[in-house]
Protein backbone atom coordinates (compact mmCIF):
# COMPACT_ATOMS: atom_id res chain seq x y z
CA UNK A 1 0.00 0.00 0.00
CA UNK A 2 1.19 3.45 -0.88
CA UNK A 3 2.26 5.46 2.13
CA UNK A 4 0.35 8.58 2.99
CA UNK A 5 3.48 10.66 2.59
CA UNK A 6 4.11 9.42 -0.96
CA UNK A 7 0.51 10.02 -1.84
CA UNK A 8 0.75 13.61 -0.60
CA UNK A 9 3.93 14.15 -2.64
CA UNK A 10 2.10 12.88 -5.72
CA UNK A 11 -0.88 15.14 -5.07
CA UNK A 12 1.44 18.09 -4.54
CA UNK A 13 3.35 17.39 -7.78
CA UNK A 14 0.08 17.19 -9.73
CA UNK A 15 -1.09 20.48 -8.21
CA UNK A 16 2.19 22.23 -9.01
CA UNK A 17 1.91 20.95 -12.59
CA UNK A 18 -1.66 22.29 -12.80
CA UNK A 19 -0.46 25.72 -11.68
CA UNK A 20 2.61 25.89 -13.92
CA UNK A 21 0.73 24.87 -17.05
CA UNK A 22 -1.44 27.98 -16.62
CA UNK A 23 1.48 30.42 -16.54
CA UNK A 24 2.36 32.71 -19.45
CA UNK A 25 5.45 31.70 -21.40
CA UNK A 26 7.45 34.61 -20.03
CA UNK A 27 7.00 33.27 -16.49
CA UNK A 28 7.90 29.74 -17.61
CA UNK A 29 11.11 30.96 -19.27
CA UNK A 30 12.06 32.52 -15.94
CA UNK A 31 11.03 29.53 -13.85
CA UNK A 32 13.10 27.17 -15.98
CA UNK A 33 15.83 28.26 -13.59
CA UNK A 34 13.95 27.10 -10.47
CA UNK A 35 15.29 23.55 -10.68
CA UNK A 36 16.10 20.84 -13.20
CA UNK A 37 12.76 19.05 -12.86
CA UNK A 38 10.87 22.18 -13.84
CA UNK A 39 13.27 22.78 -16.69
CA UNK A 40 12.60 19.24 -17.98
CA UNK A 41 8.86 19.55 -17.44
CA UNK A 42 8.63 22.69 -19.61
CA UNK A 43 10.38 20.90 -22.47
CA UNK A 44 7.80 18.12 -22.55
CA UNK A 45 5.58 18.37 -25.64
CA UNK A 46 2.47 17.46 -23.63
CA UNK A 47 3.14 20.30 -21.21
CA UNK A 48 3.98 22.83 -23.96
CA UNK A 49 0.90 21.83 -25.90
CA UNK A 50 -1.50 22.12 -22.97
CA UNK A 51 0.02 25.44 -21.95
CA UNK A 52 -0.46 26.74 -25.49
CA UNK A 53 -4.08 25.57 -25.65
CA UNK A 54 -4.90 27.28 -22.33
CA UNK A 55 -3.55 30.61 -23.59
CA UNK A 56 -5.05 30.24 -27.03
CA UNK A 57 -8.48 29.99 -25.43
CA UNK A 58 -7.96 33.11 -23.34
CA UNK A 59 -7.18 35.56 -26.11
CA UNK A 60 -6.65 35.18 -29.83
CA UNK A 61 -3.83 37.10 -31.43
CA UNK A 62 -2.27 37.60 -34.83
CA UNK A 63 1.19 38.76 -35.80
CA UNK A 64 1.59 41.25 -38.63
CA UNK A 65 4.34 41.29 -41.23
CA UNK A 66 4.55 44.88 -42.42
CA UNK A 67 5.87 46.12 -45.71
CA UNK A 68 9.33 46.82 -44.31
CA UNK A 69 11.49 45.71 -41.45
CA UNK A 70 11.04 43.09 -38.78
CA UNK A 71 7.59 42.12 -37.52
CA UNK A 72 6.61 44.70 -34.91
CA UNK A 73 2.97 44.24 -34.04
CA UNK A 74 0.62 41.76 -32.52
CA UNK A 75 -3.11 42.44 -32.58
CA UNK A 76 -5.53 40.78 -30.20
CA UNK A 77 -9.18 40.02 -30.80
CA UNK A 78 -10.40 43.20 -29.14
CA UNK A 79 -8.36 45.17 -31.72
CA UNK A 80 -5.70 46.02 -29.20
CA UNK A 81 -2.20 46.50 -30.64
CA UNK A 82 0.77 45.10 -28.76
CA UNK A 83 4.37 45.76 -29.67
CA UNK A 84 6.30 42.56 -30.19
CA UNK A 85 9.22 42.24 -27.83
CA UNK A 86 11.47 41.74 -30.85
CA UNK A 87 14.71 39.91 -30.31
CA UNK A 88 16.46 39.32 -33.59
CA UNK A 89 17.47 35.67 -33.57
CA UNK A 90 18.46 35.54 -37.25
CA UNK A 91 22.09 35.40 -38.29
CA UNK A 92 21.97 38.38 -40.63
CA UNK A 93 19.71 41.31 -41.43
CA UNK A 94 18.94 40.08 -44.92
CA UNK A 95 16.69 37.47 -43.36
CA UNK A 96 14.59 40.17 -41.69
CA UNK A 97 14.20 42.23 -44.83
CA UNK A 98 13.28 39.33 -47.04
CA UNK A 99 11.37 37.16 -44.58
CA UNK A 100 7.86 36.03 -45.41
CA UNK A 101 5.46 34.18 -43.16
CA UNK A 102 5.15 30.88 -45.02
CA UNK A 103 2.76 29.54 -42.39
CA UNK A 104 2.26 29.10 -38.67
CA UNK A 105 1.42 26.10 -36.59
CA UNK A 106 1.17 25.82 -32.80
CA UNK A 107 3.04 29.06 -32.20
CA UNK A 108 5.89 28.23 -34.60
CA UNK A 109 6.38 30.34 -37.74
CA UNK A 110 7.76 28.93 -40.97
CA UNK A 111 9.97 31.68 -42.40
CA UNK A 112 10.86 31.82 -46.06
CA UNK A 113 13.90 33.95 -46.67
CA UNK A 114 17.46 33.44 -47.87
CA UNK A 115 16.94 30.04 -46.24
CA UNK A 116 14.02 28.30 -44.63
CA UNK A 117 13.73 28.75 -40.87
CA UNK A 118 11.40 27.74 -38.09
CA UNK A 119 10.95 30.56 -35.61
CA UNK A 120 9.32 30.66 -32.21
CA UNK A 121 8.70 34.39 -31.67
CA UNK A 122 7.87 33.86 -28.00
CA UNK A 123 11.15 32.24 -27.03
CA UNK A 124 13.15 33.81 -29.92
CA UNK A 125 14.43 30.38 -30.83
CA UNK A 126 15.14 29.65 -34.48
CA UNK A 127 15.97 26.52 -36.39
CA UNK A 128 17.68 26.64 -39.77
CA UNK A 129 16.07 24.05 -42.01
CA UNK A 130 18.56 22.19 -44.18
CA UNK A 131 18.34 22.87 -47.91
CA UNK A 132 15.77 20.60 -49.58
CA UNK A 133 17.58 17.83 -51.50
CA UNK A 134 16.12 19.11 -54.77
CA UNK A 135 18.12 22.34 -54.35
CA UNK A 136 21.29 20.63 -53.20
CA UNK A 137 23.08 20.90 -55.57
CA UNK A 138 20.94 23.61 -57.19
CA UNK A 139 19.36 22.72 -60.52
CA UNK A 140 21.19 24.20 -63.54
CA UNK A 141 18.28 26.46 -64.42
CA UNK A 142 15.21 27.73 -62.62
CA UNK A 143 13.31 29.01 -65.64
CA UNK A 144 10.80 26.20 -65.78
CA UNK A 145 10.69 25.29 -62.10
CA UNK A 146 8.23 26.54 -59.55
CA UNK A 147 8.22 25.49 -55.93
CA UNK A 148 5.69 25.62 -53.10
CA UNK A 149 5.76 24.87 -49.46
CA UNK A 150 3.35 23.93 -46.77
CA UNK A 151 4.05 24.05 -43.07
CA UNK A 152 2.29 22.17 -40.32
CA UNK A 153 2.26 18.90 -38.47
CA UNK A 154 0.30 15.93 -37.35
CA UNK A 155 -1.99 17.19 -34.54
CA UNK A 156 -1.56 13.83 -32.79
CA UNK A 157 2.21 14.22 -32.42
CA UNK A 158 4.35 17.16 -31.45
CA UNK A 159 6.45 17.18 -34.60
CA UNK A 160 6.67 20.03 -37.10
CA UNK A 161 6.84 19.33 -40.82
CA UNK A 162 7.46 21.19 -44.06
CA UNK A 163 6.24 19.88 -47.41
CA UNK A 164 8.26 21.09 -50.38
CA UNK A 165 6.67 20.67 -53.81
CA UNK A 166 8.60 21.09 -57.04
CA UNK A 167 6.70 21.64 -60.25
CA UNK A 168 8.33 21.38 -63.61
CA UNK A 169 6.96 23.53 -66.40
CA UNK A 170 6.15 21.78 -69.62
CA UNK A 171 5.98 23.98 -72.62
CA UNK A 172 2.55 23.89 -74.14
CA UNK A 173 1.91 24.65 -77.82
CA UNK A 174 1.96 28.29 -78.67
CA UNK A 175 -1.70 29.07 -79.12
CA UNK A 176 -1.31 32.75 -79.68
CA UNK A 177 0.81 32.41 -82.81
CA UNK A 178 0.25 28.77 -83.71
CA UNK A 179 1.64 29.11 -87.19
CA UNK A 180 4.55 31.32 -86.33
CA UNK A 181 7.77 30.17 -87.86
CA UNK A 182 9.81 33.06 -86.57
CA UNK A 183 12.02 31.93 -83.68
CA UNK A 184 11.68 35.20 -81.78
CA UNK A 185 7.91 35.00 -81.81
CA UNK A 186 8.14 31.53 -80.36
CA UNK A 187 10.26 32.77 -77.50
CA UNK A 188 7.81 35.54 -76.72
CA UNK A 189 4.97 33.13 -76.38
CA UNK A 190 6.46 30.35 -74.32
CA UNK A 191 3.71 29.11 -72.04
CA UNK A 192 4.25 26.51 -69.40
CA UNK A 193 1.93 24.26 -67.58
CA UNK A 194 3.42 23.39 -64.23
CA UNK A 195 2.97 19.84 -63.02
CA UNK A 196 4.13 18.79 -59.56
CA UNK A 197 6.81 16.14 -59.88
CA UNK A 198 8.78 16.04 -56.66
CA UNK A 199 7.55 15.98 -53.08
CA UNK A 200 9.97 16.33 -50.18
CA UNK A 201 9.05 16.31 -46.52
CA UNK A 202 11.06 17.78 -43.66
CA UNK A 203 10.56 16.55 -40.09
CA UNK A 204 11.88 18.62 -37.21
CA UNK A 205 12.17 15.50 -35.02
CA UNK A 206 14.74 13.98 -37.36
CA UNK A 207 15.95 17.30 -38.81
CA UNK A 208 16.02 15.74 -42.24
CA UNK A 209 14.21 15.63 -45.56
CA UNK A 210 12.57 12.53 -47.00
CA UNK A 211 11.60 12.09 -50.61
CA UNK A 212 7.93 11.08 -50.77
CA UNK A 213 6.99 8.66 -53.49
CA UNK A 214 3.60 10.14 -54.32
CA UNK A 215 1.39 10.56 -57.34
CA UNK A 216 -1.26 13.24 -57.26
CA UNK A 217 -4.85 11.99 -57.44
CA UNK A 218 -5.50 14.61 -60.12
CA UNK A 219 -3.48 16.15 -62.86
CA UNK A 220 -3.18 19.74 -61.86
CA UNK A 221 -1.47 22.82 -63.07
CA UNK A 222 0.20 24.64 -60.20
CA UNK A 223 0.27 28.00 -61.98
CA UNK A 224 -2.08 29.39 -59.39
CA UNK A 225 -0.52 27.73 -56.36
CA UNK A 226 0.62 29.55 -53.28
CA UNK A 227 1.88 27.99 -50.09
CA UNK A 228 -0.73 25.60 -48.74
CA UNK A 229 -3.34 26.67 -46.20
CA UNK A 230 -3.18 24.61 -43.02
CA UNK A 231 -6.41 23.53 -41.37
CA UNK A 232 -6.58 20.77 -38.77
CA UNK A 233 -3.33 19.11 -39.85
CA UNK A 234 -4.21 19.24 -43.55
CA UNK A 235 -2.78 21.56 -46.21
CA UNK A 236 -5.11 22.93 -48.89
CA UNK A 237 -4.51 24.29 -52.37
CA UNK A 238 -6.85 25.32 -55.12
CA UNK A 239 -6.01 23.06 -57.98
CA UNK A 240 -6.65 24.02 -61.58
CA UNK A 241 -7.26 21.17 -63.98
CA UNK A 242 -4.42 20.58 -66.40
CA UNK A 243 -6.67 20.95 -69.41
CA UNK A 244 -9.63 23.23 -69.93
CA UNK A 245 -12.15 20.43 -69.60
CA UNK A 246 -10.68 19.13 -66.34
CA UNK A 247 -12.52 19.93 -63.16
CA UNK A 248 -10.93 22.36 -60.74
CA UNK A 249 -10.76 21.05 -57.20
CA UNK A 250 -9.09 21.43 -53.84
CA UNK A 251 -5.94 19.42 -53.36
CA UNK A 252 -5.20 18.37 -49.77
CA UNK A 253 -2.13 16.97 -48.07
CA UNK A 254 -2.70 15.28 -44.71
CA UNK A 255 0.28 15.48 -42.34
CA UNK A 256 -1.09 12.50 -40.40
CA UNK A 257 -0.49 10.00 -43.19
CA UNK A 258 1.45 12.07 -45.77
CA UNK A 259 -1.16 11.44 -48.47
CA UNK A 260 -2.87 13.65 -51.01
CA UNK A 261 -6.64 13.68 -51.50
CA UNK A 262 -9.05 16.03 -53.25
CA UNK A 263 -12.42 17.57 -52.53
CA UNK A 264 -14.73 19.61 -54.72
CA UNK A 265 -14.82 23.37 -54.69
CA UNK A 266 -18.15 25.01 -53.83
CA UNK A 267 -20.02 24.57 -57.09
CA UNK A 268 -21.13 28.19 -57.29
CA UNK A 269 -17.73 29.64 -56.54
CA UNK A 270 -17.18 30.86 -60.03
CA UNK A 271 -13.56 31.87 -60.25
CA UNK A 272 -10.30 31.06 -58.56
CA UNK A 273 -9.60 34.32 -56.77
CA UNK A 274 -10.80 32.93 -53.45
CA UNK A 275 -8.74 32.47 -50.32
CA UNK A 276 -8.89 29.88 -47.61
CA UNK A 277 -9.62 30.93 -44.06
CA UNK A 278 -10.68 29.43 -40.78
CA UNK A 279 -14.06 30.55 -39.47
CA UNK A 280 -15.45 29.17 -36.20
CA UNK A 281 -13.44 25.93 -36.43
CA UNK A 282 -14.44 25.29 -40.04
CA UNK A 283 -12.45 25.54 -43.23
CA UNK A 284 -13.76 28.47 -45.26
CA UNK A 285 -13.39 29.59 -48.83
CA UNK A 286 -13.76 33.35 -49.05
CA UNK A 287 -13.72 36.15 -51.56
CA UNK A 288 -14.21 39.88 -51.47
CA UNK A 289 -16.33 40.70 -54.50
CA UNK A 290 -16.64 44.29 -55.64
CA UNK A 291 -20.23 45.37 -55.97
CA UNK A 292 -20.55 47.34 -59.24
CA UNK A 293 -23.82 48.93 -58.13
CA UNK A 294 -22.39 50.11 -54.84
CA UNK A 295 -19.08 51.69 -55.70
CA UNK A 296 -16.26 51.08 -53.24
CA UNK A 297 -18.12 48.35 -51.39
CA UNK A 298 -17.26 44.69 -51.36
CA UNK A 299 -19.45 41.70 -50.65
CA UNK A 300 -17.75 39.08 -48.53
CA UNK A 301 -18.67 35.73 -49.95
CA UNK A 302 -18.08 32.93 -47.46
CA UNK A 303 -18.38 29.20 -48.03
CA UNK A 304 -17.69 26.91 -45.10
CA UNK A 305 -17.06 23.20 -45.25
CA UNK A 306 -19.19 21.05 -42.96
CA UNK A 307 -16.92 18.97 -40.76
CA UNK A 308 -15.91 15.59 -42.21
CA UNK A 309 -18.01 16.07 -45.33
CA UNK A 310 -17.49 17.66 -48.71
CA UNK A 311 -20.56 19.85 -48.27
CA UNK A 312 -20.04 23.58 -48.69
CA UNK A 313 -22.55 25.99 -47.16
CA UNK A 314 -22.79 29.63 -48.07
CA UNK A 315 -22.80 31.88 -45.01
CA UNK A 316 -23.91 35.44 -44.74
CA UNK A 317 -21.96 37.05 -41.93
CA UNK A 318 -20.95 40.47 -43.20
CA UNK A 319 -22.81 43.39 -44.65
CA UNK A 320 -21.00 44.99 -47.64
CA UNK A 321 -17.64 46.37 -46.47
CA UNK A 322 -16.11 49.56 -47.76
CA UNK A 323 -12.71 49.47 -49.45
CA UNK A 324 -11.89 45.88 -48.46
CA UNK A 325 -9.10 44.99 -50.85
CA UNK A 326 -7.96 41.77 -49.20
CA UNK A 327 -9.30 39.51 -46.49
CA UNK A 328 -6.72 38.21 -44.01
CA UNK A 329 -8.19 36.84 -40.84
CA UNK A 330 -11.47 36.08 -39.08
CA UNK A 331 -11.60 36.31 -35.31
CA UNK A 332 -13.20 33.24 -33.86
CA UNK A 333 -15.76 34.36 -31.31
CA UNK A 334 -16.46 37.95 -32.27
CA UNK A 335 -16.77 37.46 -36.01
CA UNK A 336 -14.84 40.55 -37.03
CA UNK A 337 -12.42 40.30 -39.89
CA UNK A 338 -9.06 41.84 -40.58
CA UNK A 339 -8.52 43.11 -44.08
CA UNK A 340 -6.56 45.56 -46.12
CA UNK A 341 -7.61 49.08 -47.13
CA UNK A 342 -5.84 51.69 -49.18
CA UNK A 343 -5.05 55.25 -48.22
CA UNK A 344 -5.38 56.12 -51.88
CA UNK A 345 -1.75 57.18 -52.18
CA UNK A 346 -0.46 53.74 -53.01
CA UNK A 347 -0.13 52.76 -49.37
CA UNK A 348 -2.09 49.97 -47.79
CA UNK A 349 -2.99 49.43 -44.19
CA UNK A 350 -4.81 47.03 -41.93
CA UNK A 351 -8.45 47.48 -40.95
CA UNK A 352 -10.80 45.59 -38.68
CA UNK A 353 -14.41 45.31 -39.92
CA UNK A 354 -17.52 44.60 -37.92
CA UNK A 355 -20.18 42.27 -39.40
CA UNK A 356 -22.69 45.15 -39.58
CA UNK A 357 -20.39 46.84 -42.07
CA UNK A 358 -18.75 49.49 -39.97
CA UNK A 359 -15.03 49.78 -39.53
CA UNK A 360 -14.18 48.71 -35.98
CA UNK A 361 -10.63 50.02 -36.11
CA UNK A 362 -8.14 51.39 -38.63
CA UNK A 363 -4.60 50.37 -37.87
CA UNK A 364 -3.13 53.31 -39.74
CA UNK A 365 0.32 52.78 -38.29
CA UNK A 366 0.56 49.33 -39.87
CA UNK A 367 1.58 49.66 -43.50
CA UNK A 368 1.14 46.55 -45.58
CA UNK A 369 2.62 45.44 -48.84
CA UNK A 370 -0.05 45.30 -51.53
CA UNK A 371 1.45 42.40 -53.45
CA UNK A 372 2.91 40.06 -50.93
CA UNK A 373 2.51 36.50 -52.08
CA UNK A 374 2.35 35.27 -48.50
CA UNK A 375 -0.31 36.32 -46.09
CA UNK A 376 1.08 39.06 -43.80
CA UNK A 377 -1.38 38.32 -40.96
CA UNK A 378 -0.83 35.08 -39.10
CA UNK A 379 -2.27 33.52 -36.01
CA UNK A 380 0.06 33.97 -33.07
CA UNK A 381 -0.03 31.82 -29.98
CA UNK A 382 2.58 31.80 -27.28
CA UNK A 383 4.38 28.50 -27.14
CA UNK A 384 7.32 27.28 -25.10
CA UNK A 385 7.80 24.35 -27.52
CA UNK A 386 11.53 23.91 -28.11
CA UNK A 387 12.92 23.68 -31.65
CA UNK A 388 16.18 22.10 -30.60
CA UNK A 389 16.43 18.35 -30.34
CA UNK A 390 18.40 18.11 -27.12
Amino acid sequence: MQSRCNRMIEIWDDLVGEILVRLPVKSLLRFKCVDKRWNDLFRKPTFANRNMKIHEKKKQRVMIRERDGPPRFIISENDEILELDWQNPFPDDRVIWTMEFGGTYNGIFFIRSTNFYLWNPTTSEIKLIPTPPFLDPPPPSYTNISTFCGFGGDPDTSDYKVLYIVSIGEQIPNQIFPDSSDEDDDKLAIVYTYLPTTFELYNLSTNSWTLLDLVLPVKCNTNYFQDGFLFNGVLHWVCVGEKQEDEDCILRFDFRNNQFTTIDLPSEADDLSYNFAEINDSLAYVKNRHDPSNWGYYDVEIWTLEQDTSCWTKKHIFEPLYDLLSIYYFWKDAPELLGMCTRGNGEFYLVSYHPDGHIARRFEQITLHDRRLHDPVRKYVQSIAPLSLS
Partner: protein, 159 residues
Protein backbone atom coordinates in the same frame (compact mmCIF):
# COMPACT_ATOMS: atom_id res chain seq x y z
CA UNK B 1 -10.55 5.81 8.71
CA UNK B 2 -14.27 5.75 9.54
CA UNK B 3 -15.40 5.74 13.15
CA UNK B 4 -18.90 5.54 14.61
CA UNK B 5 -20.72 8.60 15.93
CA UNK B 6 -24.13 9.19 17.39
CA UNK B 7 -26.91 8.73 14.85
CA UNK B 8 -28.46 11.89 13.41
CA UNK B 9 -30.02 12.93 10.09
CA UNK B 10 -28.58 11.62 6.85
CA UNK B 11 -25.79 14.21 6.89
CA UNK B 12 -22.17 13.12 6.62
CA UNK B 13 -19.72 13.92 9.40
CA UNK B 14 -16.22 14.99 8.44
CA UNK B 15 -13.48 15.31 11.02
CA UNK B 16 -10.56 17.61 10.29
CA UNK B 17 -6.97 17.12 11.39
CA UNK B 18 -7.45 19.71 14.15
CA UNK B 19 -10.35 17.70 15.60
CA UNK B 20 -13.38 19.69 14.43
CA UNK B 21 -16.42 17.79 13.13
CA UNK B 22 -18.43 19.21 10.23
CA UNK B 23 -21.83 17.88 9.20
CA UNK B 24 -22.47 18.23 5.49
CA UNK B 25 -25.18 17.00 3.14
CA UNK B 26 -24.37 14.02 0.90
CA UNK B 27 -24.70 16.37 -2.12
CA UNK B 28 -21.81 18.44 -0.78
CA UNK B 29 -19.70 15.50 0.37
CA UNK B 30 -20.10 13.78 -2.99
CA UNK B 31 -18.27 16.61 -4.70
CA UNK B 32 -15.11 15.68 -2.78
CA UNK B 33 -14.10 12.83 -5.05
CA UNK B 34 -11.57 11.34 -2.63
CA UNK B 35 -14.18 10.58 0.02
CA UNK B 36 -16.92 9.49 -2.41
CA UNK B 37 -16.24 5.75 -1.96
CA UNK B 38 -16.37 6.17 1.85
CA UNK B 39 -19.76 7.88 1.67
CA UNK B 40 -21.34 4.95 -0.12
CA UNK B 41 -20.45 2.58 2.71
CA UNK B 42 -21.24 4.97 5.53
CA UNK B 43 -24.40 5.48 7.54
CA UNK B 44 -25.48 8.45 9.55
CA UNK B 45 -23.26 7.45 12.44
CA UNK B 46 -20.04 7.37 10.41
CA UNK B 47 -17.36 10.01 10.88
CA UNK B 48 -14.89 10.33 8.03
CA UNK B 49 -11.51 11.67 9.17
CA UNK B 50 -9.57 13.95 6.89
CA UNK B 51 -5.95 13.73 8.05
CA UNK B 52 -4.70 16.40 5.62
CA UNK B 53 -7.43 19.01 5.95
CA UNK B 54 -7.69 21.70 8.64
CA UNK B 55 -10.97 23.21 9.83
CA UNK B 56 -10.18 26.54 8.14
CA UNK B 57 -9.76 24.82 4.78
CA UNK B 58 -12.87 22.65 5.12
CA UNK B 59 -14.91 25.75 6.03
CA UNK B 60 -13.72 27.42 2.83
CA UNK B 61 -14.40 24.33 0.73
CA UNK B 62 -17.97 24.04 2.09
CA UNK B 63 -18.45 27.78 1.51
CA UNK B 64 -17.45 27.24 -2.11
CA UNK B 65 -19.58 24.14 -2.70
CA UNK B 66 -22.66 25.76 -1.16
CA UNK B 67 -22.12 29.24 -2.59
CA UNK B 68 -21.29 28.45 -6.20
CA UNK B 69 -24.56 26.72 -7.16
CA UNK B 70 -26.48 29.51 -5.40
CA UNK B 71 -24.84 32.17 -7.58
CA UNK B 72 -26.55 33.12 -10.85
CA UNK B 73 -24.59 31.88 -13.89
CA UNK B 74 -23.53 35.44 -14.68
CA UNK B 75 -22.35 35.93 -11.09
CA UNK B 76 -20.12 32.84 -10.83
CA UNK B 77 -16.96 34.73 -11.82
CA UNK B 78 -17.68 37.41 -9.22
CA UNK B 79 -18.36 34.74 -6.59
CA UNK B 80 -15.08 33.00 -7.35
CA UNK B 81 -13.14 36.27 -7.31
CA UNK B 82 -14.66 37.11 -3.93
CA UNK B 83 -13.93 33.61 -2.64
CA UNK B 84 -10.16 33.90 -3.12
CA UNK B 85 -9.86 37.66 -2.59
CA UNK B 86 -8.72 37.83 1.00
CA UNK B 87 -6.59 34.69 1.14
CA UNK B 88 -2.91 35.18 1.95
CA UNK B 89 -0.33 33.26 -0.13
CA UNK B 90 0.13 30.81 2.76
CA UNK B 91 -3.63 30.30 3.10
CA UNK B 92 -3.88 29.78 -0.66
CA UNK B 93 -1.21 27.14 -0.47
CA UNK B 94 -2.89 25.32 2.43
CA UNK B 95 -6.26 25.45 0.74
CA UNK B 96 -4.72 24.24 -2.52
CA UNK B 97 -3.31 21.18 -0.78
CA UNK B 98 -6.65 20.45 0.92
CA UNK B 99 -8.52 20.86 -2.36
CA UNK B 100 -6.01 18.69 -4.19
CA UNK B 101 -6.24 15.99 -1.53
CA UNK B 102 -10.05 15.97 -1.49
CA UNK B 103 -10.28 16.43 -5.28
CA UNK B 104 -13.01 19.04 -5.01
CA UNK B 105 -15.01 19.56 -8.21
CA UNK B 106 -14.20 22.89 -9.88
CA UNK B 107 -12.14 24.18 -7.02
CA UNK B 108 -8.85 22.66 -8.24
CA UNK B 109 -9.14 24.83 -11.37
CA UNK B 110 -9.96 27.96 -9.42
CA UNK B 111 -7.10 27.41 -6.97
CA UNK B 112 -4.59 26.61 -9.73
CA UNK B 113 -5.62 29.74 -11.64
CA UNK B 114 -5.38 31.85 -8.51
CA UNK B 115 -1.94 30.60 -7.54
CA UNK B 116 -0.77 30.97 -11.15
CA UNK B 117 -1.89 34.61 -11.08
CA UNK B 118 -0.13 35.09 -7.74
CA UNK B 119 3.26 33.79 -8.93
CA UNK B 120 3.13 34.99 -12.55
CA UNK B 121 5.40 37.98 -11.92
CA UNK B 122 7.34 36.59 -8.99
CA UNK B 123 11.05 35.91 -8.86
CA UNK B 124 12.68 32.51 -9.12
CA UNK B 125 13.62 32.76 -5.43
CA UNK B 126 10.01 33.47 -4.43
CA UNK B 127 8.58 30.43 -6.19
CA UNK B 128 11.35 28.16 -4.88
CA UNK B 129 10.38 29.20 -1.38
CA UNK B 130 6.65 29.05 -2.09
CA UNK B 131 6.75 25.52 -3.53
CA UNK B 132 9.59 24.32 -1.30
CA UNK B 133 11.80 23.49 -4.28
CA UNK B 134 15.52 23.06 -3.67
CA UNK B 135 17.68 24.50 -6.42
CA UNK B 136 19.78 21.68 -7.91
CA UNK B 137 21.57 23.77 -10.53
CA UNK B 138 25.21 24.61 -10.06
CA UNK B 139 25.80 28.38 -9.96
CA UNK B 140 27.29 28.19 -13.46
CA UNK B 141 24.30 26.23 -14.83
CA UNK B 142 21.87 28.65 -13.25
CA UNK B 143 23.70 31.67 -14.63
CA UNK B 144 23.57 30.12 -18.11
CA UNK B 145 19.87 29.36 -17.75
CA UNK B 146 19.15 32.97 -16.71
CA UNK B 147 21.24 34.27 -19.59
CA UNK B 148 19.21 32.32 -22.17
CA UNK B 149 16.08 34.41 -21.75
CA UNK B 150 17.29 37.46 -19.88
CA UNK B 151 14.21 39.45 -20.98
CA UNK B 152 11.97 37.10 -18.99
CA UNK B 153 13.55 38.56 -15.85
CA UNK B 154 12.38 42.12 -16.65
CA UNK B 155 9.46 43.54 -14.70
CA UNK B 156 9.53 40.99 -11.90
CA UNK B 157 7.74 41.93 -8.64
CA UNK B 158 9.74 42.62 -5.50
CA UNK B 159 9.60 39.58 -3.20
Amino acid sequence: MAEKASPSSNSISLKTVDGKIFKVSPAIANQMLTIQPLIKDSDSSTIISLPDVAAFHLTKIIEYLEGKPAAAPSAVDAFEAQFVKDLSPEELKGLLIAVGYLKVNGLVDLMANTVAKLIENKSVEYVRKFFGVVNDFTPAEEAKCRQEHAWAFDGVDED
